[in-house]
Amino acid sequence: MPVDISLNVNGKAVSAQVEDRTLLVELLRENLRLTGTHVGCDTSQCGACVVHVDGRSVKACTMLARQAQGAAVTTIEGLAEDGKLHPMQEAFRENHGLQCGFCTPGMVMSALDLVARNPDPSGAEVREWLEGNLCRCTGYHNIVKSILAGANAMRGGS
């Protein structure tokens, strides 16, 4: 039996009807049509579904929608402002940090959690942090480069 839940997604109050077993990622993609959050594996291993819940990066495929009742959720759609890409998104574009782009939303959301904790990470720290984000295309090198450039831009560097 569907129940009503309410939460904040990308700064807006939303409510939706979900089943008890609905996953957060299903709520985002199917009810709210925020399809930027991807499902790569559905077995909690790839990180394509990473979003922020109350400021922490988590796998949206490994959380029930009802667990997010009252929470503040940020998805990849919540980053750009007034049509201008977030510096981390811009860095991925500039540094060829994506090929097919399937892993990219999760990479960006994961990277932003890292930079929130550690504004000036080393390349090794970025690689270690990406343990839970798999990419089938790039070989990671340009993803790491993008995240370092994004972190630099967020610190106000050029």
Partner: protein
């Protein structure tokens, strides 16, 4: 996923009552094991009781000579807690090597030890540091908590509230991680405590176990050399696609020596 009824009680009493009333109830903590299990239809509970709404089950505090970690404390909180890093850096380091950042942002210590995966990291700390597990009904010594493969001393409906880790003189955890999952192929916690040296192994057997011969050798001399000739038998150790029993037995020695070197040096 099969359908179930979701509950989010705000008190422990309400959670226990919901569990008792359910035909087949299961508590939900960080969901990092339970939700994948439900998605694979390997479990079919009638009711899922989320502990996330109960205040006071999370957080780290110092109590005398022990660090007490609430059941709902996430791995990332243990890893970054100043209290834990000061008193038991080995425990913070152990929490920091569990899975990946997103697993550490959701998974909890209570869920990890209740699940008792033979390759999980926390069991090495619970046994190796001589911890005590407090539940809604009693306290259970760390040595008696893990009883088999995914088996614990917890009774039907018993909820873990916290784990109390006595502060050791020195300790270190060394882990040989599976390169894909990060679970321990073998992990060893070595601790020098007020009541002697403890050596606890996870990943190698059905559940975490102590190595008495290493403990007495290290009691005499806390050096990697002291345990160089202590052989661990592969009999009864885990054997799977990741490693043979012989390899795991060998890794117990290697990881134990690394842990001793780290504890003695730090």
């Amino acid at each position: 996923m099969y359908a179930f009824n979701y509950h989010r009680p705000e008190t422990l009493e309400a959670a226990s009552a919901a569990l008792a009333a359910a035909a087949d109830g299961q508590v939900l903590a960080g969901g990092q094991t339970l939700i994948p299990t439900l998605k694979q239809r390997l479990a079919n509970p009638s009711d899922v009781i989320d502990l996330g709404g109960i205040a006071g089950l999370g957080g780290v505090r110092r109590e005398g000579d022990a660090i007490v970690v609430g059941a709902m404390t996430r791995h990332a909180e243990v890893a970054s807690s100043a209290e834990v890093r000061n008193a038991i850096p080995a425990l913070a380091a152990l929490a920091d090597c569990i899975g990946d950042p997103q697993v550490r942002n959701a998974g909890t210590i209570g869920g990890s030890i209740a699940n008792a995966d033979p390759a999980a990291d926390y069991p090495a700390a619970v046994v190796g540091l001589g911890a005590t597990v407090r539940t809604g009904r009693r306290t259970i010594a760390g040595d008696d908590f893990f009883t088999g493969l995914f088996e614990t001393a917890l009774e039907e409906g018993e909820i873990v509230l916290s784990v109390s880790f006595p502060v050791p003189r020195r300790a270190a955890y060394a882990k040989f991680p599976n390169p894909a999952s990060r679970y321990a192929v073998v992990g060893v916690m070595v601790a020098e405590t007020a009541s002697g040296v403890r050596v606890a192994v996870t990943g190698a057997g059905g559940h975490a176990f102590r190595v008495g011969a290493m403990e007495s050798a290290l009691g005499a001399s806390f050096t990697p050399e002291a345990i160089r000739d202590v052989a661990v038998s592969p009999d009864g150790l885990n054997e799977d696609i990741h490693a043979s029993a012989e390899y795991r037995a060998h890794l117990v020695g290697v990881m134990a020596r690394r842990a001793v070197a780290a504890a003695a040096g730090g």
